[in-house]
Amino acid sequence: MLNKMKSYIFDQKTILLFIVMCILGTAASGQTLSFIMREVLTRLGRNAFLVLALLIPVQAGIGLNFAIVIGAIAAQIGVFFVVYWGFSGMTGLLLCAAIATPLAILFGYMIGRLFNNMKGSEMIGGLILGFFADGLYQLLFLFIIGGIIPVNNPTLIISSGIGVKNTIDLTGNLKYALDDLLHISVLDGFSILAAVAAVLALYRLIRHHRASFAPRNNSGIGRCYLGLLAVAGVFLLSYLPALERLLMGTQIARIVLLDLFTVLAAAAALYTLYRLVRHFGSRRKGKEAFGLCLQLAVIGVLYAITYVPLFEKLLLGVVFNITLLSVFTLLVLAAGVCVFIKLLGTLDSPGAVKNSVQLAGIAFAYALTFVPWVEKLLLSSSIPVVTYLAIVLLYLFNGRFMKTVLGQNMRTVGQSMSVATASGINVDRTRNIAMILSTMFASWGQLIYLQNMGTFQTYGAHYQVGQYAIAALLVGGASVHKASGKQAIIGVILFHTLFVVSPLAGKNLFGDAGIGEYFRVFVSYGVIAVSLALHAWKRVAKKEGSPLAE
């Protein structure tokens, strides 16, 4: 157990180190948590897509794709022309994508071809290629636009008529084109997330139960769970404002219809639970679980009783400054947790235990949002839903893609090109596809980035894209040959928290924001240096360790 924990800590050392740095930095910055959360959420929406664009080449063994700069360049060419033609809003953004996507595919194919000629040096090659492409981009924007392609627009073009200005203001055309489609508060976003996660965990739990308990009564158990879900669903419906008003407005025998409804729902839920529990009774271990479930139900009922006005009034009597009600609530909660833990002990499949714990965790996290302080924090900022949805889609795509035949081939190529060739995979073609996908996603990511920034730094917006995206991915615990979407998201959050707090912390600690700014630049370079070195080190050590070393 101790060893396991040790190795876990060792595996996660990068993340742990950065978590500590973020916490210390946040404390030193002297900023409110809501400020930092707002900043980080903005930056998460702005950058996560770009970081996720890095994942596929890592799987294909190409390593960290420094050439996503070129995808960004494709996006910026699109943005310039769309602004010049005067399109705006969602139309403008889609048009940008329509221009950027074919460009990015073409560029990606070219990068793939080039990388196939320098296998083993893709990373340094990608870095240099980024600088090279930057030169060509400047040639295009400084001399060809206006010089060769006639462009007449005094707000975009330098007064001499040749070359694009340093900054292009996107306010009024592309700014927030995607972000402003739909905003919700973080609290709502969190609730939705919790609900989705809970349903998922419940679904998995049911599948485990079906596998482990009473195989003959499968359908019965399934039906009980479905019934529970249905009751919950109907009860949730009563939160719809229109329905709530209707139910509140009608009284039957002096009981508000809503209350009646609630009671009915609770009764239905209890009954279904009872039937479910009976199904468990069919095995020896199940009997134990049955008893525990029954206890849980009793505790639930006890707690429910406190909502009866008479009892509530009674319990609200004060004992030593604590209301009896809160004491009672706490007791009930403690008993519930105890029984829940015991119940976990009776589950025989580890998957079911994991899912139950997940469920409890979700419930706990959701319960936390009722703490006034947390609630206020979560209500203080909002999430651009569509942008986040795009990020989630790419996250899911990356996961799904690796399960397809092409994705599996990519993984094989990444592990060993000679094995891949031997099993009939076209290595060069597979690597080309990886680069095309990565470049295309990077161009979309840059569009998301620019519409959120609101100003387009013509000659600087793409320059550090690869650098920062890669640093963020590595901070999340990824390495040159292994990276997941989870690491990307964690990395973006940690890296950008550090980015937000370090100048402020530098100012507070040393009286100079410069130190903090240089520190974050150092971190972004340093984390890449360390990661590249560790990767190469491991590879050399492996080679020397094996008897087949050259």
């Binding site: 080039l114 000629n117 320098m118 083993g120 040096s121 990373m123 340094i124 090659g125 870095l127 240099i128 290629l129 600088f131 090279f132 930057d134 030169g135 060509l136 400047q138 040639l139 400084l142 001399f143 010089g147 330098i158 001499s160 040749i162 070359g163 040393f510 009286g511 100079d512 410069g514 130190i515 240089y518 520190f519 630049v521 150092f522 370079y525 340093g526 890449i528 240096a529 590249l532 070195a533 990767h535 190469a536 080190w537 590879r539 050399v540 050259e550």
Partner: protein, 350 residues
């Protein structure tokens, strides 16, 4: 027959080198009808050759010992800069200031270069990407150091505020003794004899080193490590030697650079210097696995020639914008990319 000879000549010179050389000549000959100040351009070229030559030379021992293109000369550059700053801090003047700067710079760089070489021995096969980021990291780490190092001299430190200046003038310490040494003028062309002599001296010493027993052993370790190992050469030791010499040469290089420039540049200024040096040696004819002193001389003249002579001419033709910077980016990174694609199988210790 003639055709074959021509082909072998082209392949030995390398296509990109011919293109760049041709480009350079075209620009040079178009300078006269455009009415450019040829003598001014030549002066500029000579200064730039003296300024950058030794930094480019620092590439040679790295390539020879098998670590490939040493993008990490930033390690040595930092050593040289610290040496220069210490000599100013000590209040030295003239030649003493210069010599002390070189002495301190080289010894610092040698120590750091050794440690850096130890790292590179652990990462065989990925030296270039690792060294690039080690270079970037050390420059950004030094950015913090420049803010907190306890230098007292007002020539170095901002009179008010925190940290060291962005550019430290050499006016009050060594001045530009090196460029002024034996400097003479032909017509209006000023020849910075001292700087060119120092470059020549360094090239000569490097040549001697490479042709000594030790130098030959090092080259053998770089070009064919297994063969060298079989012959009793300690490959890792030779790589360490090459890295250390390369880094130390870079320290001399940055001091010569500062001499010709008149200032020491701190903060992010040296971030991309290694790329220019790498590009120059490649233009001169080196590859990832082979480099000679002559490559350095040809390379630095061609590369700096295009920047210092060709580009004012290009700017005359297209007056707007900073075309020179753009062309420099394209040429220098283009040549590095080209040689990376040509390195198939040539990568030592891959």
């Amino acid at each position: 027959m003639d055709n074959k000879k021509l082909k072998s000549l082209i392949s030995s010179a390398g296509v990109p080198r011919l293109i760049i050389g041709g480009f350079f000549l075209v620009l040079l000959f178009s300078a006269i009808p455009l009415g450019m100040d040829i003598q001014g351009l030549l002066t500029n070229l000579l200064t730039r050759v003296g300024m950058n030559g030794i930094l480019v030379l620092a590439m040679v021992p790295g390539i020879r010992s098998g670590i490939g293109l040493n993008f990490g000369i930033a390690v040595g550059i930092v050593g040289g800069i610290v040496g220069g700053l210490i000599s100013i801090e000590l209040g030295l003047h003239g030649w003493t200031a210069l010599l002390v700067a070189i002495l301190i710079g080289v010894s610092l760089a040698a120590v750091m270069g050794y440690l850096y070489g130890v790292l590179l021995n652990r990462v065989k096969g990925s030296e270039m990407s690792v060294s690039t980021y080690v270079g970037f990291s050390i420059i950004s780490l030094m950015n913090i150091a420049w803010l907190v190092l306890p230098f007292k001299s007002t020539a170095i430190r901002w009179p008010i505020g925190v940290g060291l200046r962005n550019t430290v003038s050499l006016q009050e310490s060594s001045g530009v003794v090196l460029t002024e040494f034996l400097s003479f003028t032909i017509g209006k062309v000023v020849v910075p004899t001292g700087a060119l002599l120092l470059l020549a001296l360094c090239c000569f010493v490097m040549y001697l080193f490479l042709n000594s027993r030790l130098g030959i052993a090092m080259s053998a370790a770089g070009s064919n490590p297994r063969f060298a190992q079989a012959n009793g050469i300690n490959v890792d030791k030779m790589r360490l030697l090459g890295t250390t010499v390369s880094t130390a040469t870079a320290a001399v290089g940055i001091i010569a650079y500062a001499q010709c420039f008149g200032f020491i540049q701190l903060y992010t200024a040296p971030l991309m210097m290694s790329f220019a040096a790498v590009a120059a040696v490649l233009i001169g004819g080196a590859s990832l696995s082979h480099a000679k002193v002559t490559h350095v001389i040809i390379g630095v003249i061609l590369f700096q020639g295009i920047i210092s002579m060709g580009l004012p001419i290009a700017n005359r033709i297209i007056p707007e914008g900073n075309l020179s910077e753009v062309i420099r980016l394209i040429i220098s990174n283009g040549i590095i990319l080209y040689s990376l694609t040509k390195a198939k199988g040539g990568r030592a210790n891959a």
